[in-house]
Subunit: 168 residues, 3 copies
């Protein structure tokens, strides 16, 4: 069977939806497909370094790298990386995701972090949406290494070549 291409727009940063996206991506990559995950909005959170220094007023120059008060507020309130995501439903003030993690561990299911690492190792391409980064005030330095940075035109170019395009 010919290699086919899949794209996923990962808009959500919910634990369960991120897990669904990574399971599909890993499955497709294991079958030899090219897979690209475009992380936009809340989906960008999975690409944030857990211990990135806050860039509060750090960047100078043209000012585009400088965060506004609002952006700092948004950035501080949102999770960094996959370890602190909540569930889309039944989150129980944060207890839902740990409950789900416990169940997955008991069933020997891959953790969210393992799914993420597996996807990276299998060559799934992670793209950070530059427009979302700009709005949310995320700098490249705050995000993990090995990403591509692109906008909607790049997404559409890849989607045109793909035979399955999902918005999650």
């Amino acid at each position: 069977m010919a290699t086919t291409k899949k794209t996923i727009i990962l808009f959500s940063g919910d634990f369960d939806r991120v897990m669904a996206a990574l399971i599909i991506a890993n499955g497709a990559a294991a079958m030899g497909d090219d897979v690209t995950i475009f992380c936009t909005f809340w989906g960008l959170n999975i690409l944030r370094k857990e211990k990135a220094a806050a860039a509060v007023g750090a960047a100078g120059g043209n000012g585009s790298g400088r965060k506004s008060f609002q952006q700092n507020a948004v950035g501080l309130m949102m999770p960094k990386g996959t370890r602190h995501l909540g569930l889309s439903k039944m989150n129980f003030a944060g207890a839902g995701a740990p409950l789900m993690r416990k169940v997955m561990k008991d069933k020997n299911a891959m953790s969210l972090e393992a799914l993420f690492e597996s996807a990276r190792e299998q060559g799934v391409k992670f793209v950070a949406c530059t427009l979302s980064m700009d709005i949310l005030g995320f700098t490249k330095e705050e995000l993990i290494d090995g990403l591509e940075f692109a906008g909607v035109a790049a997404y559409l170019g890849e989607a045109d070549e793909a035979n399955v395009n999902l918005f999650i």
Copy 2:
């Protein structure tokens, strides 16, 4: 490159998801694609006139244009147009979307209203789902001009011709 077709089912009425849909639609239209956005359920809210007269018991005749008490309640509680949408996450009792708007303005990003107007100007086709209108009790008079009205069969016909079909 040949013109291709894209369809988006806009089910959500969340500020951030609507923005994602409009960014994709504008991008595709700018690349010469035909784009259709089918607004269903909460997505219909972006098509409501801001100052439409409430149709409380106004329509006579066959009664199909007359709203039930429940439909009036639903209609009154939901936002009209793009200016009053909330965020899907971190809405903070309504403060989230204004925060996002402030950040976008500071970054010179297009506002939701500008994205919507741009999409219309670029010829993105907005279709109001008639079944959803019927359930929610929205009349054609309450919705903005220049829309098409259709059901699931029309959507499927267009999706069959498109190469990217998203549900947002």
Copy 3:
């Protein structure tokens, strides 16, 4: 027109999103398309028998059929079947879905249960995601009859043959 294939990943268990999925599935089936709905995560709830006996510690053997304390907790808190689903928005502590049901009944729209039955009668294939079942602790006995059971590889195989693939 040649028969085409559609797939829907039903990730959500929200009344309104399930309804959207079933309306699309029924419409496509009525047009002669092959339709497969892959129920994952919260979407599995629509496949649960309303009165299935809880499998608390019931299964023996290899232990894989035995539910953990957490799985029982999760299972007890989630709805069984389509009759107890909440809305994704404006749920009003459970009042939203009954309100929507009342409006639909007044408008003679098909109920969620009727849409589900119609989809089954029209040959829409419902697949229960085995990985999600494993994580959530759902056994085959707790789910309704006539389902298929499969994982992500089967989904991708079908999606490769389909011309419309949605994630709801």
